[in-house]
Amino acid sequence: MSPFLHLALKVGSGLVLTYLVVVAATYVIATAMALPALVRLRRWQGSRHVDEAASAASTPPVTLVAPMYNEAAVCVEAVRALLGVDYSNKEILVVADGCTDGTVARLVQAFRLDPAARIPAESLPTKRVREVYRSRDRPNLWVVDKENGGKADALNVGINYCRTPLVCTLDGDSLLGRDAIQRAVRPFLEDATTVAVGGTIGIVNDCTVRHGRVTQVRMPRRWLPRFQVLEYVRAFSAARVGWDAGGATLIISGAFGVFRRDALVAVGGLREGLVGEDFELTLRLHRYHRERGLPYRIAFAPDAVSWTECPATLGVLGRQRDRWHRGGAEAVWLHRRMLFNPRYGRIGLVAMPVFLLVEILGPVAEMLGYVAVAVAWLTGALNPTLAGLLLLLAVALGVAQSIAAVALDEFAFRRYRSTGSLGLLLLLTVAENLGYRQLTVWWRLRGVWKFLRKDTSWGVMTRTGFSTAP
């Protein structure tokens, strides 16, 4: 073996090892920070009743904005869910984004919608609005039918037509938990500087849905959604709680976030032409407030849950993951000025660099590791025992982190209540390493490649509809 190759392999393996240590340290710190935060949450749950807040007549009005693009299969159930949310002071604004599958017709029929006049209160630039409808039976339900312009454009229309101080952005197929808005609004009541609050996303596949409400939470029957349940538990019950405890919430999912309307207008609404508009918006809110020295808080409410259908086929999941990854890379690139910049505090110095290193470059590093092993094996420089042990160590770290997240979820939320579900979750922490994880690495690498090629396509998400109980 040439001395150059030997040196390259040595440097490469050293880098991969260092990377592994950094990633493990990040996960350990985030999980360790999540634990006291969840202990606090659980303790305070006993002395802060949601019912008490609801009866206090202090709940600020909220507009639930649900953009829909070809959601005919789930739109009626989703709107019923929004109407059934326990929050008295709400208006529902469905934005049909140039639907071609009869979404609007289904809504018109199901909710007896009539054309109505409604003047936008703001003027964020958007595609043309074709018609505004209002329900005859439910005066707080509005549907805005507009030309297709993408999710960001649809949400901007929602912001323009919103008349309440708080806006809740949702996915078209979101099923909000019964008390999700009460819980998501609480940070706004407790701290007047709060500008945005993100909630937890749960997976609704194979759960029982009745009258637009998730009445029984179950693990999905198929393996692909099951793996995603574990990923969501890891993300929402551990990682985001940990980051929030450190005052560095970086992402508010587009599927469920509550924002102060004036803050959204101040930053110019959502940016169009991006695939990760929710992440970019959160970064822009941080940037806007920090650059102007304005006091603000972006929080995460782990006990506020919105349920959504996750992809059930490899094709759709792959497209979703590469889009998410592109979105993350795109947002970090757009706000690269914040990276390592003390002006942006812990967001610029810690949260964004960690996101870049662990999330965006993670699949690249993992792939480099596989390549280094292959090259070393081909050139005879591989110590198979040591390489095998290192691989096992990397897997064990991932498994330990996942199990810790499951334990945290069990401690604070217990959404999957049966012992079988818990056993399955624990099994998945190991099983996901046998193919699923490698697939996600591949999809994320594809995302990096498409980002470098400036590809901003979304792909198609196929909905199967909820399993609705009679």
């Binding site: 002395s47 009866s55 109505a116 209160a121 505004v132 008349r163 009541l189 040591l386 290192l390 499951v406």
Partner: protein
């Protein structure tokens, strides 16, 4: 130690940690399931007796008989969920039933954990006696702001206006809380606290956020004598939010006597003041000149002011002029159409609203 040994030690360590985490998850699961089952059994046992007490079919004294000490906390928690929804005689009976258990809540007032102290003040606020109020007032200065806030709400819930001044003086601690939440809490005192609220609202020495919360509480309480002070504050130089709060109060509690103070603000350069002035003027004045001013506001540069003007015209019964306007194509016409349609007074025609 070689690299091999180092990695091996790390692997064993991480695997042991993973095993411990898994065992923790399983133990938590079993413990939580058991706790749920116990809670359900306790509730099934206690609830029928509690309901009998509430409807007067059982003596309140019987409820706490035979309770072991470890059940005092859960029983109080169950009672608190009822207390939240009860008032009057039922609440009195509930408090009487829980009286033997209250020493547990009083002991928690001195707990190290702030959530326990918050639970204690919450329980004493719902179920405590007059003797517990000084302790609640003391908790207003608790080192945890969340406990202080729970104490404030508990104290307000007692409806003992004698503590209103103490609570208003402590509001500076809750400046991060939204005005609505603070006002809602102050409203719990009821009308007897209105003079104290009015004093604070009118005092220039009180922080602006507190004055705004007091104005909001007075508005919610419907305390008519506050209108005079509100007119003076709305017309005086000062913070926009405070003057807007005064205008909101005037909208609900003012009369023609205060219209002149409001009228001057219709032309204010501040959108917020114009909006609330239009709203208040529509509510308190029947003067035709004021009606013309409100109609003029339909063309206001701020869509919020324009829409509020339209709603004001409808609320004050001036629908005819709005209907006359609804036929055209400019901003005031669109605003008129929307307001009429939303009030169910005329069906709006299809067409692009933007």
């Amino acid at each position: 130690m070689t690299a091999f040994h180092l990695v091996l030690v790390l692997l064993v360590g991480v695997t042991v940690c993973a095993g411990l985490f898994a065992a923790t998850a399983l133990l938590l699961h079993a413990w939580s399931a058991r706790a749920d089952a116990r809670r359900a059994a306790r509730t099934a046992r206690w609830e029928p007796v509690l309901l009998d007490v509430l409807v007067g079919e059982a003596d309140p004294a019987v409820f706490a008989e035979g309770f072991v000490r470890r059940h005092h906390g859960p029983a109080l928690e169950l009672a608190a969920t009822y207390a939240l929804r009860l008032d009057g005689e039922s609440l009195t009976r509930l408090s009487a039933a829980m009286a033997p258990l209250l020493p547990r809540a009083r002991a928690l007032l001195h707990a190290r954990r702030p959530d326990r102290r918050a639970t204690a003040v919450r329980l004493l606020g719902f179920l405590g006696t007059d003797a517990d109020r000084p302790a609640l007032a003391l908790a207003l200065s608790d080192r945890s702001p969340l406990v202080a806030m729970a104490a404030a709400r508990a104290l307000a819930r007692t409806q003992d206006a004698g503590y209103a001044d103490a609570l208003i003086a402590a509001l500076g601690r809750f400046e991060t809380w939204g005005t609505n939440a603070v006002a809602s809490m102050l409203t719990l005192f009821g009308l007897p606290a209105a003079p104290a609220l009015m004093r604070a609202f009118a005092s220039a020495d009180v922080p602006s956020a507190t004055r705004i919360a007091c104005a909001e509480a007075l508005r919610r309480l419907g305390y008519l004598p506050a209108a005079g002070d509100a007119a003076a504050i709305a017309g005086a130089a000062g913070g926009v939010e405070l003057r807007a709060a005064a205008l909101r109060l005037l909208r609900d509690l003012g009369g023609p006597a205060e219209a002149s103070a409001v009228r001057t603000l219709i032309e204010s350069p501040s959108d917020v003041l114009r909006l609330h002035a239009v709203s208040a003027l529509a509510a308190i004045s029947q003067d035709p000149g004021d009606a013309a001013r409100i109609e003029h506001a339909l063309s206001d540069a701020s869509p919020w002011v324009a829409q509020r003007a339209a709603r004001g015209l409808i609320e004050s019964g001036r629908v005819a002029s709005l209907r006359a306007l609804a036929g055209g194509a400019g901003q005031p016409h669109r605003v008129a159409r929307q307001a009429l349609a939303e009030a169910g007074l005329v069906a709006s025609e299809p067409g692009s609203p933007s």
